[in-house]
């Protein structure tokens, strides 16, 4: 069974009624890493929000199945608990909520959802330390309020640490490389690579090819004007790097 199957997905902005996704088809099998590349305004981020269940988008046509579940029927938190993880392009600052409290609440929500026992503060701390260590990160940032005053790199690392703790089966990384210098990009890419395994699928959404120097995708898709225009192997990314998106948009991007 496919991990994620998107069929003819159409979605509009609820308020304006403007169609952004115009028929997306995509299948991700367990263990596969897919990259979606495309110019700004192609609908890449909308796809990630629609998959994660953000309010404000209306799916007008098509279906999305996640394992044996109809993903579109689920609330955002249920999707997360089923195993969908969206790494945000701009992780949100939440003043007053300590990172540790937030992540424990998140993990325990998932455990509760699956009928498992919740972890107490000590058990959780131990788990977080192990996960951070396996990613060669500290857990210091969890002592601060969620993302508040974090540098761009810290915010992205925090996303990767959350991913490691929550152990999703599908990771959607929305423009994970934006705002990162090369060192930070490497750290984040190492984290993602460490989390690659045969059961987990990944969807990398990116504008630039450079992330793919560090994370090797199995498939690359070019998205433009709300549709996947072309699919191929990782060599497609190199081709795009050379030619740009002009072939797909009719203008240089």
């Amino acid at each position: 069974m496919a991990l994620l199957e998107i069929k003819n997905l159409h979605a509009s902005l609820e308020e304006e009624g403007k169609e952004i996704l115009k028929g997306i088809d995509l299948v991700i099998q367990p263990g596969e890493v897919h990259a979606i590349m495309g110019p700004n305004g192609s609908g890449k981020s909308t796809l990630s929000y629609v998959l994660a269940g953000r309010d404000g988008y209306e799916v007008t046509e098509g279906e999305v199945t996640f394992g044996d579940k109809d993903l579109l029927e689920l609330e955002a938190n249920e999707r997360a608990n089923e195993g969908v993880f969206l790494a945000f392009q701009y992780p949100v600052e939440i003043p007053g909520v300590p990172g540790m409290t937030f992540l424990r609440e998140a993990l325990n929500s998932k455990r509760k959802y699956h009928g498992e026992e919740e972890l107490d503060a000590m058990q959780f701390l131990k788990l977080v330390r192990e996960k951070a260590k396996s990613l060669e990160m500290g857990d210091d940032m969890l002592k601060r309020a969620v993302n508040v005053g974090f540098s761009g790199g810290e915010k992205k690392r925090n996303e990767i640490l959350q991913m490691a703790v929550l152990e999703p089966t599908l990771c959607v990384l929305d423009e994970t490389d934006s705002g990162l210098d090369i060192d930070a990009l490497k750290i984040v890419a190492d984290g993602v690579n460490a989390l690659r395994n045969e059961n987990r699928g990944m969807l990398l959404i990116t504008h630039y090819q450079r992330l793919l120097d560090y994370i090797q995708p199995d498939f690359v898709h070019v998205m433009a004007a709300g549709k996947i225009q072309r699919s191929g192997g990782k060599e497609l990314a190199l081709e795009l790097e050379e030619k740009g998106y002009a072939d797909f948009t009719g203008k240089a991007a």
Binding site: R54, A80, V92, G96, F102, E105, Y113
Partner: protein
Amino acid sequence: MPNDMANDNALLKAFSAAAPFDGAPDWFGAATAAGAETFETLGLPTNRTEAWKYTSLRGLGSLSFAAPSADAKAVEIPRDSVAEIQGIEIVLVNGRLDESRSALENLPVGLAITPLPQAIEFENGAVKHALQDEGAIDGLPLAALNTAGISGGVLIEVAKNAVIAKPIHIISIGTAGDEPVAFAPRNVVWVGANAQATLVESHVGVGEGSYFSNSVTHVTVEDEAVFHHYKLQNEARSAYHVAMTHVTCGEKVIYDNFALSCGAKLARNEIRGKLDGSEILYAVNGVYMAAANQHLDNTTFIEHAKPNSQSREIYKGVLDENGRGVFQGKILVQRPAQKTDGYQMNRALLLSRKAEIDSKPELEIYADDVKCSHGATVGELDDDQLFYLKARGISEHDARNMLIEAYLRDALEEIRVDKVAEAFGTKITAWLAERALREDAAS
């Protein structure tokens, strides 16, 4: 309006009937009479009274109050409602001091606590001044009503240079049977020069009966003293709570006030501060949390009388269901008060379409070299933050609660005494837990 007048008289009677000051000196009788006269002139305020534009006491007029019964004294202290503070406790039941449960003896060196009737009898200067001060009741009908029929209270004196580490904790309990009761506590606090002390007030209720607590507190902080003054208003949901605090600060005083309001059907927390010295740091802050059928009013007045002082004021509110909040803040800067630095802010978070907040910030400035700013914001929970939490598996309900808690707890940063901040924090958590139960019941 003969009807209103009849109500006013009934209220006045209810209070006067409760007064336990037999054999008090003549000046006290005169002060009481002046209070009654001022109240009769002003009457019970309605929306037509400018200072009470958003908070009407009309509902009070329709209640008929009985004098508090003597056996009310036996009520247990409702520890769940009271602030959890290891303090020097003073217990008032329906406005009267319960001496058996109050720490009046063996107090730390430099601290004296005296029942109000005794302090009156001994002609204590601070008490005499407080009760005779026309400024304390002029144009203030409820303070005048209090003066007309004081139920009881205490005089707290902190000697010059004394440092009292343990907080003093006034627990004011209201309790009524089938008939509503009305009472009027009056407390006088005097903090000597260069002294340091902390006062916590817990206003709580026992039982379902309706009561009206109409308190007045006088605080005088002498030069270079530090006084922390915190109040928890956690009255019974059927109660009316009106409290006036008069604060006077001398040179280089640090005064910080924080009020957490979550109880009562209708509550007004009014603080009038006179900054009668230079280099004062004066702070009045608070949090208010209103649920169904609650009306919570914070009204503050800050008078800068001398140059070079600072005042800070930050209130944060959460209004749920048809809860209503009122914030009125006025800063008056007198001509001599150059280099005044004043800041005032009221932030309200509306959790329901039926909730309401009325903010009225006001500046009146006669000096020409001052820095004063004020503002008010009204908002709802942030959609981006909510989605971020939900995208991590946290339910809408839990996510909302987390954000509300963070918003409220942030205000506690203003409290300078950590253990009080912690004790007030548990009240915020309890309020949110109650809110969660209501939501579960509704869904």
